[in-house]
């Protein structure tokens, strides 16, 4: 392996990093123009770099693996990274208005660096790289959360996110080191090879628990989710969308990969009444707690961003259900779910930002009668929320269906995780209530005459297009899941 090879494998990340530098430079040149929609040069540079990265990945230009599992770009990883690049681009497009900051260049660069971190997470098969990439992404997100300096809530959220995140990072690092101590390897494959046929070492189990705590924080699974509602609400809306969409895809993917690849031997069992120690029971309990907590807490929310935060907790629960089951279909199932969820939630935050820009808030009453004010945005929001609720033919339905199917398919028809799937579907019903309540506000309620309905600065065409694209992705992925499942590596039939 020479450096040229390495550069080729890392070319998407390099493209995005270059984009970040370019954005800073372009913005410096445009500084004289003041804030707002006129200073979009940096954004376009960033979007372009993301698109280039995605193209490279999709066309297979970066396929290959660096030694030690530092960068492993298989076909599935390539697709996930391409989607992460696109989500990054989407985040940038949604912040075209950028009313929350004067520092457009810095904002764009931070988003892009966060995107790089996420892409690296996806392709890492090495605990060190995994940790570094997670921290790169997290640090970027801490900054993005606090980017709105005029809003004390934003700063508070950033601090909270940072403190929780730092602690989780420490847990993760400590856990990883314990695993290293127990196995003497840092590559996923190496860890797996060392564990084969060995009884589970207590040290390993301790490390395992710590790693799951750390990763649980990243995916915002209960009970490690306390940062999420504040961060989602306080962060500038596009940044919140980025936290909810991009970082989730990466974190779920690495969680599935780490448990499935590295620690397959210590999975344990989470069957009702038949627990066996390993990560499966921990994940199962985490999933159960997330689904319950997230959905029940969301019932009380009157702010759309907070609502989406709790819904994110719940969705983390659904995803972890499938991860807890293990098996060869976990990666496509989790990948499909995370990707479609990311588009859905990014779009939902897009609509929230759209409404915020026009009415000055994201509480329920700001959404009243949205369908009469902006039918397209309302329709898209309808698609997103119904997809989150799991209504066919939207992507969220098939995603959840597949997750649950994988969860039940684990152990040769014994249906060991039925309790978890049952709990999952039951809490889905709860979630249906609060999504429908928001939709009621949007489609049924009358427009609140006290709300200003001025269109804000600019026509918002770019945001609207981005939202619409996300909605189309959600619909198409739901109607034809095979389009997305094949790239995610699901080609053989699940049950022979």
């Amino acid at each position: 392996m020479n450096f040229l090879d390495l550069a080729r494998i890392a070319s998407p990340e390099i493209a995005v990093v270059l984009g970040a530098l370019g954005a800073l430079a372009v913005d410096l040149a445009q500084r004289g123009r003041g804030a707002g929609s006129s200073r979009t040069g940096a954004i376009w540079v960033g979007v372009a770099s993301c698109v280039v990265a995605a193209l490279i990945l999709v066309l297979g230009g970066a396929t290959g693996a660096a030694p030690g599992g530092m960068l492993a770009n298989g076909p599935v990883v390539g697709w996930i990274k391409a989607i992460l690049a696109l989500l990054t681009a989407g985040t940038l497009l949604l912040s075209v208005r950028g009313g929350f900051t004067m520092h457009v260049g810095e904002f764009v660069a931070t988003v892009l660096l966060g995107g790089v971190g996420m892409m690296l997470i996806a392709s890492s098969e090495n605990v060190l790289m995994m940790f570094l990439a997670l921290e790169l992404a997290s640090v970027s997100l801490y900054i993005l959360t606090g980017f709105n300096k005029r809003d004390p809530q934003s700063g508070e959220a950033a601090l909270k996110y940072f403190l929780f995140g730092g602690m989780a990072g420490a847990f993760l690092l400590f856990g990883l080191s314990l695993i290293y101590g127990a196995t003497g390897a840092i590559e996923f494959q190496g860890i797996r090879a060392r564990l084969e046929g060995q009884p589970a070492h207590p040290l390993l189990l301790a490390g395992l628990v710590m790693v799951l705590v750390g990763l649980g924080f990243k995916v915002a699974a209960a009970p490690f989710h306390f940062w999420a509602p504040d961060a989602y609400q306080g962060a500038p809306t596009p940044a919140a969308g980025f936290i909810a969409a991009g970082s989730k895809v990466a974190a779920f993917f690495i969680l599935a990969k780490f448990t499935g690849m590295a620690l397959d031997e210590v999975s344990g069992r989470a069957n009702w009444g038949d627990f066996a120690s390993g990560w499966a029971p921990i994940l199962a309990l985490m999933a159960a707690a997330s689904m319950l907590w997230g959905n029940l807490a969301a019932l009380r929310q009157r702010n759309v961003k907070r609502l989406l935060a709790y819904s994110a907790v719940a969705h983390a629960g659904y995803t972890v259900v499938a991860i807890a089951a293990g098996g060869s279909e976990v990666v496509p199932a989790v990948g499909f779910y995370a990707v479609t969820y990311a588009f859905t939630t990014l779009g939902a935050f897009g609509v929230a930002g759209w409404v915020e820009a026009r009415t000055g808030g994201t509480d329920f009453e700001h959404f009243a009668g949205l369908s009469r004010r902006s039918p397209v945005a309302a329709l898209c929001l309808g698609v997103f929320l119904l997809s989150l609720a799991g209504i066919p033919p939207l992507a969220g339905f098939f995603g959840k269906f597949f997750l649950f199917l994988v969860a039940l398919n684990g152990d040769a028809g014994a249906l060991g995780l039925l309790w978890l799937v049952g709990l999952g579907t039951a809490t889905t019903c709860v979630s249906f209530y609060y999504y429908l309540r928001l939709l009621k506000v949007v489609f049924v309620d009358e427009i609140d005459p006290r709300l200003s309905t001025e269109p804000g600065d600019g026509s918002g065409l770019i945001e609207l297009t981005t939202i619409l694209v996300a909605a189309v992705v959600v619909v198409v992925a739901g109607c034809a899941p095979a389009l997305l499942l094949n790239p995610l590596g699901l080609t053989a039939t699940v049950v022979p």
Partner: protein, 502 residues
């Protein structure tokens, strides 16, 4: 090209076209919706005629959908489907005719309406369980908005209750469905294959009640029926016509196709329990209807009571019981649609009240003679008098019940009598008020002056439904041949064997 598949595509296309082109003028939306519904109904009837009396399952479209999971897009029809497709077509047209006066957000109204219709058509033609479920759920959301936006009394409450109940039901079905896929181990959701997979008894023991109750919630199974009266009352006329007319049938159809067809052992084990709930529903809902003061609540509870017969027939799980249940689905679809049409459109839109005590003083029979005649006939049909479709249906259900659960047959008979009583009660109080009981000056003055006499659209819609019920009642072979042939298809082989059908 099979005309039946067009029902689905026409309705979907109609929904989009109506939503887009009808934005400016309600009249355009109405006409577009009516044309779509009529084309859909035409396709259903022509397609059914095209198939004659199919002795097996006729596949219309079958393409791989999600190959990795063995999911196919599989539209097909047997005799049973044909009956319900025709019902859907007729109910759809009638519903639009009865909502000719919708002005507010008309394009959205009709688009959602057609979307709902499309989902219903889809369910009735689905022979892949995944696809079946997808269409089944597709129907939930339009229902919610139709009620929440255009409804009346406590509409948001009614709509939410309805949507949640439906959703909870489908969540139960979802769990059972995934488990069934895993347990069967066929790698396929094909319902005919699943029916012959002999699912293990241990699975059917818990999955049958889970999925059956999940579906039956939508069919108004006691004690999960409470969404129905509130939902019906809150719904705008067309929506309550559809709700009672076809949407409740989705639940019963699910019990038939998934409960009975795929899990006959479970059906055998749980049949008595299901029959007991059905009979309680029949009698209880009828008794409640007997004391309601709101006209629409009476009809709402009557729907629950009549759907109890469908469930009773299915629980009996013998040839006559099941055939009767299917015929009752059709019959109740037509008759309930008609009753809701009269109450919601002809009466309520003109008098703005549904209180029987007030209606009593209005001398509606003189003010709206057409409505009075139609409602009288519809009442007779609803009571199950011979000559109307309800009789042939209830007769077969009771016959089936005799053979399986005699006490249920007797209780069902009691239910029929109570339903006669409550139907007669509303009929007398709302329409057949003898002269001399009405104070002078009541009558027309209390009516909304703008409402005017019964319009052509209402007349056509009412006659369409009434004529259908009469035609089937007088000549049941119109549908019975389809139903009998449908129950002989391979899909029901397992049921026939398990239950020992001759």
């Amino acid at each position: 090209m099979m005309a039946l598949t067009l029902t689905l595509w026409i309705s979907l296309a109609g929904a989009v076209v109506t939503a887009v082109l009808g934005r400016e003028r309600p009249s355009v939306a109405r006409v577009l919706a009516l044309v779509s519904a009529m084309l859909g109904a035409g396709a259903a009837i022509f397609g059914a005629w095209q198939l004659g009396t199919p002795t097996g399952l006729v596949t219309l479209v079958r393409v791989p959908w999600i190959p990795a999971l063995g999911i196919e897009f599989h539209l097909a029809a047997d005799g049973v489907s044909l009956v319900l497709l025709v019902l859907t077509g007729i109910a759809a047209v009638a519903g639009i005719l009865f909502s000719w006066n919708v002005e507010d957000r008309a394009n959205e109204f009709f688009a959602l309406y057609l979307m709902l219709i499309a989902g219903v058509y889809g369910v009735f033609m689905s022979f892949d369980l995944f696809q079946f479920f997808a269409f089944y759920e597709l129907a939930i959301v339009p229902k919610y908005f139709l009620i929440a936006i255009w409804g009346s009394t406590r509409r948001e409450y009614g709509a939410m209750k309805l949507a949640l109940y439906s959703f909870i039901g489908s969540a139960m079905v979802l769990v059972g469905m995934i488990a069934m896929y895993v347990v069967a181990g066929l790698g396929s959701f094909d319902m005919v294959r699943l029916s012959s997979a002999s699912l293990p008894n241990g699975f059917q023991v818990w999955a049958f009640p889970l999925m059956t109750v999940g579906f039956a919630i939508l069919a108004g199974l006691w004690p999960f029926h409470t969404w129905a009266p509130t939902g019906h009352v809150a719904a705008p006329t067309a929506a309550s016509m559809l709700l009672a007319g076809v949407v409740m049938k989705l639940g019963a159809y699910g019990v038939l196709r998934v409960g009975l067809m795929l899990m006959p052992d479970g059906a055998k084990l749980w049949g008595p329990a299901l029959a007991a709930l059905a009979v309680i529903g029949i009698v209880y809902a009828a008794l409640v209807a007997l004391v309601q003061q709101d006209f629409k609540f009476v009809i709402g509870y009557s729907s629950v009571s009549h759907m109890g017969f469908v469930l009773l027939g299915l629980a009996a799980a013998n040839p006559r019981g099941v055939a009767g249940a299917i015929l009752q689905m059709f019959s109740h679809g037509v008759i309930a649609g008609l009753l809701f049409g009269v109450v919601g459109r002809m009466v309520y839109d003109r008098t703005h009240t549904r209180e029987l005590t007030i209606l009593e003083g209005l001398s509606l029979a003189r003010a709206l003679p057409f409505a009075a005649v139609i409602f009288t006939l519809a009442s007779m049909a609803s009571m199950g008098l011979p000559g109307f479709s309800g009789f042939v249906a209830e007769l077969q259900v009771l016959l089936g019940a005799w053979q399986s659960f005699p006490v249920a047959a007797l209780a069902g008979g009691v239910g029929v009598v109570i339903s006669v009583a409550f139907t007669l009660r509303v009929l007398q109080r709302a329409f057949l008020v003898a002269p001399g009981m009405v104070a002078d000056g009541g009558g027309l003055t209390a009516l909304d002056e703008h409402a005017g006499p019964i319009t052509w659209a209402e007349k056509v819609g009412a006659l369409l439904l009434l004529g259908t019920s009469l035609a089937v009642g007088v000549y049941p072979r119109l549908l019975m041949d389809w139903i009998d042939a449908g129950l002989q298809t391979p899909g029901f082989e397992a049921l026939r064997t398990t239950m020992g059908w001759p």
